[in-house]
Amino acid sequence: MGKKKGRRKGEEGQKLKFYALKRGIGSSDEMIIRKSHDTWKNSNSTPTPENVPQTGPLPITSPMARYTPNGIASAMQSLRLQSSLPCRSRIPALRQAVRNYATETQPEQPVISEQQQAPPPPPQEVTAAPKINFDLFRLQPARIIPASPSYFSGNPRFIDHVLRLEALQLKHARLPTVTPGEAPRMAWFKLAQFRDFVGEAVPVKKYKSLVKILQRLNRIQPALVPKEVRTALEEFLRPGNPYALKNAPRVVDDNGLARAKGKRKESTAVVRLVEGEGEVLVNGKSIVEVFQRVHDRESALWALRCTQRLDKYNVWATVRGGGVTGQAEAITLAIGRALLIHEPGLKPILRKSGVISVDARRVERKKPGHVKARKMPTWVKR
C-alpha cells in the first residue's frame, strides 16, 4: 500500500482491478450490478473466493466495450459519475472499506470473511419490514420503464421493427420460397420515406439490412404466406403501389395491324406491321426513296431480316425528326416491337440481335467554356 502513495488519482484507475458482486435478485437472467466504493479493491489485495463470492470483470452496459481499454476507461467514468450515493453492501467487511486516497493513510484492516463475522450487535426492538409485494412493483413500477427494450439505443423504433421482422423470418424460415425473379414485385419505402415513417434518422446501411429481411420474407411462396407476414410486409410498402399499374398488353388490332413506336437519336418512328408480302412504305414513299443507302435500308428492316420474316409482313412506317441514320434505326426499334406483338416467341432472337434494345444515347450537350461537349479551347501560352 505504501508503495502506491505517490500515485495520482487518475493513474490509479488504470491499475486497479475491479470486482463486482453479482447477486441474483429477481430472475436468473436479470443481473443487477451494485457498484460502489465498497467494491473497490486495491490492486495489491488479492481477492480470495472467501471474501468475494463471485468475481468477474466489471460488466459494462455496452458489451462491445468490455475488453477494450476505452471501455474500461468509460466504465471508470460511469462509476465515478454514478457513485455519488454509495450503496450499502451487505458485506460488513466491505462496508467499512473506504476509498484510499494517496494522501491518506488507511488503517490496516484484515479482510475477514462472512463466516468469521464479528458477533452481531445487541438485539434491539426492531420490527421487520413487511414482506415486499413484488406484484405491486410489476403493476406500478417504482420508476418509469420504457415501453421498448431498445429505448436507450439510438433508434429504438427502427430496432423494434428489425427485431419483429427477424422474429418473423426465424419463425417462418422453413416455408418454401420462390426465386427472387418470381416473387411479387414490392415497392418498399424509399429511405427518406422510411425515415419519415419511423421518425428516426436511420442510416442507409441499416435500412438496407431491413430491406433484405423484407425481401427474404417476400420470397415465401405467395400461396403460403402467413397472414402476419403479409400484414407486416404491407406496413413497409410505399403508398400507391407503382407496380400495380400494368400497361395494357399490346395486341394486333381488328385490321391485323400491330402498332409500335421506336426512337433513336432525334427520330421517332411509328410502325404499323401487317401480314403481307414484304412491301415497305416509309412516310408513304418507297423505302428506296427515303433511304438511299442500302446500309440504312438493311438496318431499318433488320428485325424482319434476322428473323427471316421479310417476306411475311408489310411495313407502314411514319418517321419524323433526326437524320437518316436515326430515322432508320428508329424504324428498326419500332419494327422489332411491332413484330413482338405479332410473334412474342421471337423475343429471344430479337433481343439477341439487338433490335428491341433501346439505344438511349443522345448528343451530349455543349458546355460553357468548352468548344464542343468536351473539347477545350487550345491552350495558348500567354
Partner: protein, 404 residues
C-alpha cells in the same frame, strides 16, 4: 363621376392650401422668404357687416314690388291689400329701427348658437396624407391620397369583393357544366360522330337542358375565350367559323359560294372547307359577335348581289396543303386478304419445290475454278503442255535439214 368630383375637390383643396399658408409651408427652399413671391398679396376676406352698419331699407310702397308680386298684389281685394301694406310697413319700420334690428339679429345669433350647441355640426376634418415633396406636382394617379368622397356604407360590398364573386360565379358555371352537361355529352357521342361531318353540336347548353345537335340553320360557330377570372386583353375576342358548303342550298348558289370564297380570301381553308374570321376591335364580346354576324351577313349579301368575280380564279396560295399518307386499305387484314396471302405463299412454296435446280453462286464459282483453265493453274499448265505437244515447232523443223 366620382373621379371628376375627386379631381375637382383635389384642385380646390390645393388652391385653398396655397391661399395663405403657402409660403410658410415652403420647406426646402434655400432662398429667403422675401424673394419668394412678387405676386400681389391676396386681399383679406371682407368682414361680415354688423347689424348696425346695414343700410336702411327704403320706405315701403307697392310700386317697389317685383312684377309677379305686383300682379299678385293687384289681384288682392282692398282689405287684403290694406293688411298686406300695413304688415310690410311694420317690417320695414322694424328693420329701419336700429335698436330693434340689433335685438332681432342678436336673437338670431343666439338661436343659431343654440342649434350649433345642440346639434354637432362640426365636419370631420379629413386628414390628408402628404405625399411628400417629390410628388407634390404630380397627379394623384394611384389615388394614394384619400379624398373623402368615397363614402362607404355598409349596405354594399367592395369592388374587389364583386370581382371575387364574379370568379366564383364563373367557377360555378363550369362546375355546373361539368356536373350536368358533360355526362350527357358522352352519352351523345355516337350520335355526334354519326352526324358531325359538317355540323357542330351545341355543347354549351345551359344546365339540365338536353343536348341536341345544332339545327340546320345554326351554321355559325362562335368561339369565346375566358381566362378564368383573370383580366386579359384578348378576352373580348370572338372567332366565328363556318363551313362554306353549309351555305350552298339555302343561302347561296354554288356560283355565289365561289364568289363568297373569293371575298373571304385567306380566311378560307380549302382542306377543311371552313371560313374562319375573328374580331377584337370592340371592347366587349357582344359587340364583336354582333360585328362578326353582321359581317357574315354582308358577305353573303355581297356574294349575292355584288360583282361575281367569275373571271378571277379562286386564290388558294395562302394554304399549304398538309398531306398525310394513309395506310393502304388493301393491306388491311381481312379474311379474303388472308386467303389470298396464303394462296400466294402456297404457290410460291410449290414453285420452289418444283424448281429443278437452285442456283448457288458459290457452287458456280467452285465449278468455274476447277474447270476453267484461266482460273486453275494446274489446268492451265496442262493445257499449255497439251499445246506444246501438239504445236508444230516451226523453228525445229527448219533446223532439221540443217543438222543433216
Amino acid at each position: 363621376m366620382a373621379s371628376a368630383t375627386r379631381s375637382l375637390g383635389r384642385s380646390s383643396r390645393l388652391l385653398s392650401q396655397r391661399g395663405s399658408g403657402w409660403i410658410s409651408t415652403r420647406q426646402f427652399s434655400v432662398s429667403p422668404y422675401r424673394f419668394v413671391s412678387e405676386d400681389p398679396v391676396p386681399p383679406p376676406p371682407p368682414k361680415d357687416l354688423q347689424p348696425a352698419d346695414l343700410p336702411p331699407m327704403p320706405e315701403y310702397s307697392p310700386d317697389l314690388l317685383s312684377k309677379e308680386a305686383r300682379s299678385m298684389y293687384d289681384m288682392m281685394s282692398p282689405e287684403e291689400r290694406a293688411a298686406f301694406d300695413a304688415e310690410n310697413r311694420r317690417i320695414v319700420a322694424d328693420f329701419n329701427d336700429v335698436s330693434k334690428r340689433t335685438a332681432v339679429f342678436a336673437e338670431l345669433e343666439k338661436m343659431s348658437n343654440q342649434i350649433d350647441r345642440e346639434e354637432d355640426m362640426r365636419f370631420e376634418d379629413i386628414r390628408t396624407k402628404s405625399r411628400g415633396f417629390w410628388a407634390e406636382d404630380e397627379d394623384d394617379e394611384l389615388a394614394l391620397v384619400e379624398d373623402g368622397d368615397e363614402e362607404i356604407n355598409d349596405d354594399e360590398i367592395t369592388s374587389m369583393a364583386h370581382a371575387s364573386m364574379e370568379v366564383h360565379r364563373e367557377m360555378r358555371e363550369y362546375a355546373r357544366i361539368a356536373a350536368w352537361d358533360m355526362p350527357m355529352l358522352s352519352s351523345m357521342i355516337d350520335l355526334f360522330i354519326l352526324r358531325s361531318c359538317a355540323k357542330f353540336a351545341n355543347c354549351s347548353g345551359r344546365t339540365r337542358k338536353p343536348l341536341h345537335l345544332a339545327p340546320q340553320n345554326h351554321i355559325l360557330r362562335f368561339r369565346y375565350t375566358t381566362y378564368m377570372g383573370e383580366q386579359h386583353p384578348a378576352e373580348p375576342k370572338v372567332v366565328v367559323e363556318l363551313a362554306s358548303k353549309d351555305l350552298t342550298p339555302k343561302h347561296l348558289t354554288e356560283a355565289q359560294r365561289q364568289t363568297f370564297l373569293k371575298l373571304v380570301g385567306t380566311r378560307y381553308n380549302p382542306q377543311t372547307d371552313i371560313v374562319r374570321m375573328s374580331s377584337e376591335q370592340f371592347g366587349s364580346r357582344a359587340q364583336n359577335k354582333r360585328y362578326l354576324a353582321d359581317l357574315v351577313n354582308s358577305l353573303i349579301k355581297e356574294a349575292k348581289t355584288g360583282d361575281s368575280f367569275a373571271d378571277i380564279p379562286l386564290d388558294l396560295r395562302h394554304h399549304k396543303p398538309k398531306i398525310r399518307p394513309q395506310f393502304p386499305d388493301s393491306w388491311k387484314m381481312t379474311d379474303e386478304r388472308r386467303r389470298q396471302l396464303a394462296a400466294r405463299r402456297e404457290e410460291r412454296y410449290n414453285a420452289e419445290k418444283q424448281r429443278e435446280a437452285i442456283v448457288d453462286g458459290n457452287q458456280i464459282v467452285g465449278h468455274a475454278v476447277l474447270s476453267l483453265p484461266e482460273f486453275n493453274p494446274a489446268l492451265k499448265a496442262k493445257a499449255t503442255a497439251e499445246r506444246e505437244r501438239v504445236a508444230v515447232h516451226v523453228g525445229s523443223r527448219a533446223k532439221k535439214p540443217v543438222r543433216r
